[in-house]
């Protein structure tokens, strides 16, 4: 975990977070901002759709693929550690960092954005938590499958999550960000929350919060199991 923390990814994450915090600071200067404004204008479009997957892929996609690229995976595989143990250790280390960055980033964003932002963090941190776990499992699976997992994950995050997560119809249900948005919308109905700004509510069709959470749990479990299965059988 310390190796990952001292990696280039940490600097990239820190830079992105600083930029977003600066943007949030500028946003918070307007007096009439509400929690609903914050969610629609900052939290969903910038944090949930962009930073959350980027923070997650930086560590999770590098966990195994990074060792493959640096040719150090052989040292691990030559020891009596079983493959499930290696996979679990790598996943745990990556997930710990993913959670620290995603929850810490959301907290920092909420704090910077003032009372409206902090209200959102207190209310929506479970959505960040469960989508972080799902992203962590997905990008860790990529890490096991692809040597250039970071590139694959970036393409997935920037294209599929952003694009598919916002298209009309049911196809967006393949994107993790859709379920995160559903959790946020379900948890913020009393704040007057609906689909993000500029999106037709009739086309977004959010799922109930419980259903979205269940889907994220199941997806996380399935992706974790798939990653473990592949890692235990794959020749590197």
């Amino acid at each position: 975990m310390w190796r990952m923390l001292r990696s280039r990814q940490t600097w990239i994450n820190a830079l992105l977070l600083v930029l977003v915090l600066l943007a949030a600071t500028a946003w918070s200067q307007h007096h009439a901002r509400t929690a609903a404004h914050f969610v629609r204008e900052v939290f969903l479009p910038i944090y949930v759709s962009f930073l959350l997957p980027i923070f997650s892929l930086c560590y999770a996609s590098h966990a195994v693929a990074g060792e493959r690229q640096e040719q150090t995976l052989g040292y691990l595989l030559a020891t009596p550690l079983t493959r499930p143990v290696i996979y679990l250790a790598k996943w745990s280390a990556a997930l710990a960092l993913v959670l620290v960055w995603n929850l810490g980033g959301a907290a920092a964003l909420g704090r910077i954005a003032g009372p409206a932002g902090w209200t959102c963090f207190v209310r929506f941190w479970p959505a960040v938590l469960w989508s972080s776990v799902a992203y962590g499992c997905l990008f860790h699976l990529f890490s096991v499958l692809f040597r250039r997992a970071t590139v694959v994950s970036l393409v997935y995050a920037l294209f599929l999550e952003t694009f598919l997560g916002n298209v009309p119809g049911v196809i967006k249900r393949v994107a993790i960000s859709y379920y995160t948005q559903c959790l946020v919308i379900a948890g913020g109905q009393d704040l007057g929350l609906g689909p993000a700004a500029g999106r037709d509510p009739a086309l977004f069709v959010p799922l109930a919060g419980d259903t979205a959470q269940l889907v994220l749990w199941c997806v996380s479990g399935a992706l974790f199991a798939a990653g473990m299965w592949v890692f235990c059988r794959r020749e590197y």
Binding site: R3, G74, P80
Partner: protein, 318 residues
């Protein structure tokens, strides 16, 4: 204390009808061999299957057919790996660590903790002559020092089988001598050492037996003299420095196992013989009977390189 108890009754390493292919390409073809204590050289041209063979026995690959077993356990299994120390040919490390931290990390993966972890780490570094320089970052090491650290991590759990892929690459002559001393010392204490090297000269004096690999098959296995004797198509070349070369040459032509005799420019006799053991006996009798003064007698093509060339010629004809 290692995680797995050693089952010393099963063969240390056994390849049983092992084949490995990647799509239509056969990398290892029906290999059956057992490894014995001592130093075994693994020799073959590029693409012969040496790396695949090593990756099979270190459990990084699974055979497409057959089985690789280490002390009775499948090489792929975690239990088998506690018997093996692997020194890869890649120059890859966790660069931000010191040599000591790297070896300690690998020792921890092998299940050592506390005082034993420290003791094992120190002993392995001492064994490769890096005890006094191990606290420096790996990124600052020379190629030779990195090779030594790689060897230390392979030795840290005192494996029964040490697999070395090009271990002397980049090591200076003095360091080479020291490392060879480590290998021979380990072999003398009962460790089986499998050494893959493209420097065939090393095999002449280092390897107790050699496995010659060509196109995924083991085309010869045994000590160099044993393998040389099997090459009936290639008569053994012997050079003799003697006081009366012409007289000895005339007498040698009468010996059945001598195929040809040639007088070299320096006055030495070059003879080609079949069935070397018989010829050596006849030669000894001739020398004693004729009262010849022999200054030097040596076989000129029993080196690993010469045998390798002969084997390649034979294999290409098949």
């Amino acid at each position: 204390m290692t995680a797995t108890a050693h089952d010393t009754t099963a063969p240390l390493l056994e390849f049983a009808g092992v084949s490995k292919w990647y799509g239509p390409v056969i990398a290892v073809n029906d290999v059956t061999v057992r490894l014995e204590p001592g130093i075994t050289g693994l020799v073959g041209p590029n693409g012969a299957g040496k790396s695949t063979l090593i990756r099979l026995l270190t459990g990084q690959l699974r055979p497409s057919l057959g089985e690789v077993r280490v002390r009775g356990r499948r090489a792929w299994s975690a239990a088998a790996k506690s018997h093996i120390g692997y020194c890869a040919d890649t120059d890859a490390f966790y660069e931000e660590m010191s040599g000591q931290a790297f070896v300690r990390t690998v020792a921890r993966w092998h299940g050592f903790t506390g005082r034993e972890l420290a003791a094992r780490t120190a002993a392995a570094l001492e064994q490769v002559g890096m005890a006094d320089r191990a606290s420096r970052p790996l990124a600052s090491y020379s190629k030779g020092m990195r090779q030594r650290i790689k060897l230390a991590q392979a030795l840290v759990h005192a494996p029964e089988l040490l697999v070395l892929d090009e271990p002397l690459n980049g090591v200076d002559p003095l360091g080479r001598e020291e490392l060879v001393h480590v290998f021979t010392g380990l072999a003398a204490r009962g460790t089986a050492v499998l050494l893959s090297s493209h420097i065939l000269d090393e095999m002449d004096w280092l390897a107790d037996r050699v496995l010659f690999l060509y196109r995924g098959r083991i085309i010869a296995a045994g000590s160099l003299p044993e393998i040389r004797q099997t090459l009936a198509d290639h008569p053994l070349n012997i050079r003799i420095s003697v006081d009366r070369p012409r007289e000895l040459a005339a007498r040698l032509l009468m010996v059945e196992t001598v195929q040809a005799v040639q007088l070299a420019p320096g006055g030495d006799l070059l003879i080609q013989v079949h069935r070397p053991q018989e010829c050596y006996r006849a030669l000894a009798e001739l020398i004693c009977a004729g009262g010849f003064q022999v200054e030097r007698l040596s076989a000129t093509d029993v080196s690993a390189e010469a045998i390798f060339d002969y084997l390649m010629q034979t294999a290409r004809r098949l």
